[in-house]
Symmetry: C3
Subunit: 260 residues, 3 copies
């Protein structure tokens, strides 16, 4: 999902194109990209995922896109443009979800690198490949063209991953990977690791401790830090009708330990 | 409209689903909800009303939704998720606009409480009923299913209301209920109460006075506070090409008196 | 595009209506306008360009709209409401792109002033012509009605223009006209003026100098100010993975000189 690009499932086309960028909502860049898409494929159904990605924050974009994209119908094209490398030698990729084919082909995704100089209506600028290359490709994929028309399968491409948890002498060492609008602190500790017993969570700097998991955000007392499994399926720290981010003064990268 | 939910008019379906939440525009929550809707009903036409509702600000959401929803065609489904009580015992409701039927049935709205355990594709999480319960119901209502498929009529539900004006010895005592992007101060004094003569409005703390009503925002001098009936049909205080909010240093809850 | 309005190309209708306003994304104003459009023409395809235009910043809106609108298909209706003069004597205009006709008719645009009292469903308020006059007209234009149904051609209307560059003793004197989300500084020096040689750009206050043009944003060193032709086709100042706006402390109106 890095330096990326456009993903498409080969199953029946829905005509839906989602958009994830770091463009913000004030400038003309997003409108220009939507105009190109609708000029190329008037039947496209545009759905904004997020345009408030931090400038050049590729991993943040990947996290947000992943947690939205999984809910869209098969055949959706996800166009993501967070592109600090525009104009450099970096490639553009398409990620194709093989869907049912993965059962026989032993791989769920096929990654296709956009062929340099792929034929589009206008010659691309050096500063805005989102508008000049990816938007027309996304539109044509959504209209039913094959990803193979625009590039060739590659096996090597840049992968980003969330920071992994470490397991040290029976405890899990994790960190905060995302702070949402409500100040909930999403960690990198997956729900699957929390089933071995009643967890006791210690925040590294402050030593604040939380014992056990709640089911939902409305539990706990005023200003009490609670822990729960959030909708991303990771351990989250939260405060009922308040902000764990503000209560703890902790953000992305903040460390925590989980014992049982 | 509290702890709410989904409203639908029984008249011919438009396929339109509006969305009002406190999710903001950066996180994945809104995208996930849109994905669920489009997976459930690919023909849905999504229209964002506002996602910048203050976190858990249910009354603010109701005010904004009411002032938008009235302009949508019959058959529109309005999905609103401002849900501090997610995971608690709070119910989810659907509000059905009976439209023409109200002439004979003596009630304009029918309120239907979503049946717990209503059958949906996936078992719902405890933390995100907007995505797991309300989004699929909204999609199925928009596609033509009946609200009765998902719940049962109730007569008792939580109602919120705007703070009422008081009438004390011939004067109206009101307050500011909303500050818009332009710094216009919307009060709870309805236009209907202003027809009895030329109003004289006094702001409680500062004693600043405004005499008479203007017709529109472009009247008055630079930095002059003016009063008018705004598009919400309430008394508003404004400054031409400026901000009444900044001029007076007053926001929500600020008091005022109206004499004639 | 001032005090504006609605623009429509006479060629085949696309059903697309773009929206550009200074309403922000929290209040009910945008939702109300979309509701009116969809009630008037249920087939409309709404596309948001920008609603984060500075309050009453007509020229900013025109710059953003121009740089988006050019990418939309023929027949798109562009609805723009940045309207400090609502309720005053200011007129409302429609701008019609004659497209191919301009080759024979010697004018590319036809400007039509909305007839006062043009017949719409509801009597318009004095405070919200975007909702009460322009939204229904935009919807009816998108549905195929002619601009002539709503007004009459005018030859005189208010024009805004970007501040022009000056040429003084062989150098170009320009200024910053727009700062985007990335802190890139867009100037009023058009790309066409930069082809006469290798430019040397001097920022007026600080004396910071940049020699030559880069091709794209990823060139240059950390914290190095670079110059390039941006996607608006104007000279831009930028910093790789950083903000020229923050580096220089310069914003709109900041002066620069270009020598060769």
């Amino acid at each position: 999902m890095s330096r990326l690009s456009a993903g498409v499932s080969t199953s029946s086309r829905s005509g839906i194109i989602t958009l994830t960028t770091d463009f913000g909502l004030r400038d003309s860049y997003l409108g220009a990209m939507k105009g190109v898409i609708l000029t190329t494929y008037p039947g496209a159904k545009l759905v904004d995922i997020s345009h408030e990605i931090g400038p050049q924050a590729v991993l943040e974009a990947a996290f947000i896109l992943k947690n939205s994209a999984r809910y869209f119908p098969a055949g959706t094209v996800h166009l993501a443009v967070v592109d600090p490398g525009v104009g450099s030698g970096r490639g553009l990729i398409m990620v194709e979800d093989n869907g049912l084919f993965s059962l026989v082909a032993d791989e769920k995704y096929r990654v296709i690198r956009v062929r340099p100089g792929v034929s589009l209506t206008h010659p691309p600028s050096a500063t805005f490949h989102g508008r000049d290359i990816l938007a027309p490709i996304a539109a044509r994929l959504a209209s039913g063209e094959s990803a193979d028309d625009f590039g060739r399968k590659v096996n090597s491409f840049k992968r980003l991953s969330l920071p992994p948890v470490r397991k040290v002498s029976g405890e899990i060492r994790g960190e905060i990977i995302y702070v949402d609008r409500f100040g909930n602190l999403v960690t990198n500790v997956p729900a699957a690791l929390l089933s071995q017993g009643r967890p006791c969570i210690t925040m590294a700097d402050s030593g604040v401790m939380v014992r056990g998991l709640k089911d939902s955000y409305c539990q706990g007392k005023s200003n009490e830090l609670i822990a729960l499994v959030g909708s991303h399926r990771f351990l989250e720290l939260a405060v009922k009708n308040g902000s764990a981010h503000e209560l703890l003064g902790l953000g992305k990268g903040g460390k925590l330990r989980v014992r049982f």
